[in-house]
Amino acid sequence: MSSVNLSNITKKFGDFTAVKELDLIINEGEFFTFLGPSGCGKTTTLRIIAGFYYPSKGKVKFNDRDMTTVSPEKRNTGMVFQNYALFPHMTVFENVAFGLKVRKTKKPEIKRRVEDVLEKVYLKQFIDRQVSQLSGGQQQRVALARALVIEPDILLLDEPLSNLDARLRDEMRNEILRLQREYGITTVYVTHDQVEALSMSDRIAVFNAGKCQQIGSPTEIYNQPVNDFVAEFIGETNLFDVELESDEPEKLRFFNSSLDTNIYVDNTPKQIAACQENDQLRMSIRPEAIDVKKTVSENENTIQGKVKMVQFTGEAVHTFIELNENITLKATDLNRGPSTYLNEGEEVYVRLPSEQIRIVPKVKR
């Protein structure tokens, strides 16, 4: 088991900068996720840890050992590839045994450990199958077993679930988590799926355009995004531009020119992200935090609107409320029966609770 320490990592491909000045520490035994849209540099960073790329600048350390230019086969990492990269000409056993054979493990020992790990991924009965005869989920398990059996210092997972259908994905999510806890391996997981990231990780690093935007626990990332990119990328949110009007110790007053309304926000670090003097500000409020009423109330941050569309997803009901021609809010409620659904065209009052709003700076482009 190892910790991973990336300091000031930059990776360039020709003129294109894939990763820029990244500092990151992944603790021992941690489940750490790189999350971001495609082309954001998350896979590049993973491959730098695996050794397939050497950084143009910066250092990679496992514990205190400098691994920056150590070749991949000497790093003792176990990687699960997006397409699994199973050796097509080998059986399940041979695939899993490959890493052990390379390590010159004794034959009976290989047999024992391969059987062990296949038992853990519930594939013992398929041990002599050709990998092409397995289903997608089973191939995924073989890939996992192959990476785990060598008892790697670090387990690297590159979008491992992206080729599976939704139901299987849920199942494998729990499976991977169970195995990771069981083996207690430091794990780096790359995904663009925020549900995966939020539900599995100890900590998440959110990437965009080669830069790491925020590192934090899933709740931190979701509840206290540092900028509008993170707020928008993780979960759903309603975002609009605001300007700071008055600066009081208890509550800050913001103004939205399009709605011509004041918005009051609690002046705590939970509500207000760190900003620079000349940052453009935006407010973010999650759909589930919005309070929709049919009758007018005198509470602060209450705005009148009209229901545009009601979307029923089963467990939840999304209501799209038009505040004016430019701004439409999305509000989400758990499904509490037909009597609570709003009708399209209905006049409603939305309240944006001051303790639920997050003020973030706009990312400079």
Binding site: A50, K74, F87, F98
Partner: protein, 560 residues
Amino acid sequence: MNAEKRKTILLLIPIVIVLTGYVLYPSFETMLESFRQEGIFTFQNYIDFFGPKAHANLEALWNSVYISVLSVLFSALIGVPLAFIFNRYDFPGRSFFSGVAIMPIVLPSLVGVMAFMFLYGEAGLVPNMIKDLFGLEEVPFTLGGVSGILLVHAYTMYPYFYMTVSSALNNVDSSLEEAAANLGSNRLGVFWKVTFPLLTPALVAASLLVFMVSMASFSAPFLLAGGYRVLSLQIYFSKINGNLEMAATQSVILSVVSISFLLFMRWFQNRKDYRMGTKGLGAHRSEVSHPLIKWTMVTIGIIAMIILLLPHATLAILSLVPEGSWTWQTYPTAFNLENFRLLFEDPNIWDPVRNSLFMAFVACLGCFIFGMITSYALVKRKFIGKNLLDILVMIPWALPATVVGMNLILAFNQPSPFSFGKVLVGTYWILPLAYFVRFIPLVVRSTNAVLEQMDDSIEEAAQNLGAKWLYTFRRVVLPIIMPGVLSGTLLAFVQAVGEFPTSVLLYTIDNRPISIEIMNQLRMFNLGQAAAYGMIQVGLIAIVMFVSYKFFGVKSENTL
């Protein structure tokens, strides 16, 4: 990064040495020779070529182009409709007929031409049979000259069209045609507006291929041309007459034509064209239900089959005609296994077979190893000048065999570092070398195809699990690409066994291969023995193709 670069360079060194020594340097020597007359640098050879002094050369060039254009036309006229009928309609015996349709490719060019001569030539069986059947005074037709060359070309080259168009047709997503029909287009409209445009890449590729192959064609003009001149043959005559400078000039001109076609083809294939956005759902064949049409089709299929297999059958029958028993008679009279018996008893007759097998084996071993390494470097390694190397590798494929032969003669008729300071021309080893050079591209191409299919992550996975490069290559890469390497090598073997043009330029008494012996037997009018040799070649080819199909799943259309 540096370790990776070191590996790449280590891989590239042998590749570059071999390609420089045996492809680039010989071509360069030929070029030099073409600018020399009696040891002085001059353009005189080119002036002679294009000038009025030797009209024959320019005429030969035009004839080559003329024959090639017509060959493309006739091959397309046979190959494309056949591809349509066999891939779009279902009728009794369809799959059998479609298997027969590619039979011409098992005939090595010289053997094919020979069979055509037996069948339709001056003393051919078919014209004589017609004469006797209808009681005519003279034979109604004989095959020779331009018409003969064209007929042989059409017969041997239409499979290029047939195969490329068939595979293109099978890749056309049938839902595209259904979509056009659904939008209101009639059957003809669907064909012209949807199917045909999707086939153009295949048609162009096949046309270029046939054009190049028939520009290079040697055996057909060699045996059938009579007084008709084509460029590939002119090179041979210049060499025989000892005019190496003119042979070099002719080679350079033919090379220029061929290499520009190679470059054009590369450009065409790399051009962004409309690839299928979706995976093909498999071809749909409409079943022919109308009995009249159905049985007409079957009849056509049977007639086509007979015509296609007649050369094979003739060879088989004539190979049973013993020496000296078919001289003045119209038809052979005696049949026995004498020719095949002699093969095992008379060392003079067995020698060429042994030579062919041994030389083809050595050349293919070289192609196997060299092709594998080259293909790996080309597909999986990054380096500067890759495109150039790629072109260099394909040059022996584009160059007509006659030119390859001439290049080697001009490079190795003097000591050179690449022949370890020895003169190779006139020795045993010049022929295996020629086969090796000529068939490198076959192995590289077929290996490229499988290597491109292999995702980079497979190698990375092995590396990640702790395997060093050599171990990964041996245990992971090699087993995966082996079918591709082997199918290329087997094809190279097949072609090396049948190779005629380079053999005729480079053979010696010690290493004369089967093809040369066929030519000798024909000259001695010992048709039976010639046919027997032909049968041996066909048999070898059939065995190799069967083995590669059965054990490596190699489909014959991948072998082009």
